[in-house]
Amino acid sequence: MRPLFLMALASMMLSAQSRFDEAFFAGDRKAILAGSAEALRTLKPKDAPYLVRCGRAYLAAVDKTRAQELFRLAEALEPKDGKVLRGIADAWLKHGYKSEALEAYELVRQRDPGNKEVLAQCAVDLAEVAQIREAEAFMDMVALQDRDKWEYFLAFGKALLVSGQRKKAAGWFARAVAVKPKEEKVYAEIIQAFADTQAVF
């Protein structure tokens, strides 16, 4: 019965879609953020990754309390999912909450230490905001588990370029080339990294 009720509520909410029109999206940013978050939550009330997105929207709308509530719900639903935990950490980081972010990144390291993809993403997140020591700790974990992940090394090198760490970036680009010296994509990605970080232009 409850799922039916929730579906009916979702339909009602979205059929009051007339409020989500062009004027809504051209209006107050906080209202857009809150409205989008609620629309999303109505559609997926128990999906941890989407709850994290909702929380992020509330953080951007400067509603920390509501954001924390959503992050707690998401964590409770998927306590060991590195992707969810990283999403929470990234949301804190992007909105300037450094200590909350570092705590959340630590949870990723503790609870999903074998998830190389997520660890590499954590490394990139932290490198881009010049949290270099923490970033390298994550990337070292990845490299220890798999020395041949050149795509991750390239992404990390680029993130280091973003925060002006050219010397450190050089090390990771070198590592990628050492793994795949005859792969043209490696060189193309390095060119792109320098071009995109405006190191040249």
């Binding site: 004027a23 989008s36 060189y187 071009a195």
Partner: protein, 282 residues
Amino acid sequence: MRIPMAMLLAVSLLRAQPADKQGLFQQDPQAIMRICAEQARKLDPKDSRLLAKCGRVCLAGGDRAQAEEAFRLALLDDPKDAETHRLIALAWLKAGFQAEALQSFNAMVKFGSADRKALGKAAVNLMDAGLPVDAERMMIRSILSNKKFERTKSNEELFSLLDQGPSDTQIIKVMPPSPVPNNSGILDPAAAAAHGANPNLFPKPGRLPGPPGVSIGVDISALISLSLDGYDCIAFGRAALRAKLPEMAAKWFDLTVKARPKEEQIWADIAVAYADNGALGE
């Protein structure tokens, strides 16, 4: 963050790199890009998209002749690849050659295949370059490139935009709102012309007015009659936010939501677009 001693030791061994390779990447960025471009070309000399990127490197180094040669070779290899044309246009744009960039975008439209993704990315590139009207036209073209969409009375105005042909694309800058009080939301062409704007930019009589503020671009509501994917509009809306054109972003997000009102990923992407103010990288 506490790390066990054994792990620290392992890490220090892993970090030791062949000195020559690390030395390469500590050079001047232009030198690095040049060497990487040469190496990539040796490994795959006929990759048209790679050649376009190599051309970008040459432009960065101030070598226009070499860049043009790389672009020529790229198009010789694959003249119909829309993405190659786009990469060439982007190279010109990034190096500050706007006229050449628009010519390349025109060539993409004229000679390239109807590649929805490439056209959509081109629309974002144009928006990021401060050319919102051209960008929107390219975005409309991207959507209409889907052959399943038929030309009907309701979308005739949009299709006819594309009939005008690539050579009609103009370099158009966004003008600030007219100083003349204007409650209808339509910019007063006379007042705008006084500011040096091209009066041909503005909606012709019969088009719907835009929301209050700066009215840019066209009425895209006819697109809702098509079964849109929706996701390709998100990137464009983000770019509009990035370009500080919230009304244009609103128009495209509205279209996206109408196309897919119950798609959770659409809402997630829109929420994040506003959370990030459209920043690149999402």
